[in-house]
Amino acid sequence: MRAIVIDDSRAIRLILRRIVGQAGFEVLEAGDGKQAMEVLAGLDGAPELALIDWNMPNMNGLEFVAAARGDQRLRDMTLVMVTTESEQSQVARALAAGAHEYVIKPFTSDALMEKLALLGLVPSGAQA
């Protein structure tokens, strides 16, 4: 299983890489949505999971979700927003655009793993 972590903060990418890496994912990284699309274009098949920040330069997370949903090659990739945008209206916007789940920063590894378990990407009760 592969995951791509898309966040302009290297620190958050490192934390997410650790968590999903320990859950068995091979982890790719991108600093914004545009870079993520470039990384994904070079892959043979889409990763199973994308963890996506909202506020990023060049292409933000919401724009990335819309682009990924419109790309036939990426249609099976599970999209999880991981962001500080915590208003219900923003959660609704992301889900309407095609995100499957929403995690608000700050997050614990247990909280993220619970979301991934709900999505069937890790066994229930798995810990990072």
Binding site: D8, S9, R10, A11, I12, L14, I15, R18, W54, N55, M56, P57, N60, L62, T83, T84, E85, S86, E87, S89, I104, K105, P106, F107, T108
Partner: protein
């Protein structure tokens, strides 16, 4: 929006407690301790701007040593191993997390910038009449850290859609 409707020190403390438990201190044995009336070394500043119906910024201020302590804990590294760019990144991300969470307490329609980071002698590009509406000062590992909300016009900021 009036100053009275802005998030409070209690709100800032709650958010910082979540940051500590999530990234810095998962066991809850080394928390940020709120303190009163102690000046914080103004060496490192990171902030995010909020624009829209409520305008201002969320500013993190601390010493260089504290910024390095925070970055090391955040990244689970030794202090001496943390690259300078990661110190900026972590303190900026802290401002970003606090900013995103306080934005949900503000009127709908506010937008958040990506984080800004500067060293000594610089600061947020805010108007001279900006007002500090809440400030949390905490002690952690024998150094101080301030998280403050300033209300007032931002200058020279780019805000995400």
């Amino acid at each position: 929006m009036s100053i009275e409707m802005a998030p409070t020190v209690k709100d800032l403390l709650f958010i910082m407690e979540q940051v500590w438990l999530s990234y810095m201190d998962p066991e809850g044995i080394d928390p940020l301790i709120p303190i009163d009336d102690e000046p914080v070394a103004s060496e490192i500043h990171a902030w995010v701007a909020i624009t829209g119906p409520w305008e201002g910024n969320v500013l993190v201020t601390c010493s260089r040593a504290q910024a390095r302590n925070v970055a090391a804990a955040f990244l689970a590294m030794e202090v001496e191993e943390v690259p300078d760019e990661d110190v900026a990144d972590v303190v900026g991300e802290m401002a970003n997390i606090v900013g995103g969470n306080v934005k949900s307490m503000l009127p709908p329609g506010c937008a958040l910038s990506t984080p800004y980071f500067v060293g000594e002698g610089e600061g947020p590009f805010r108007s001279p009449d900006a007002v500090c509406v809440a400030e949390l000062v905490g002690r952690w590992r024998n150094e101080l850290l301030s998280i403050a909300m300033w209300q007032g016009r931002n200058e020279r900021v780019e805000v995400a859609a």
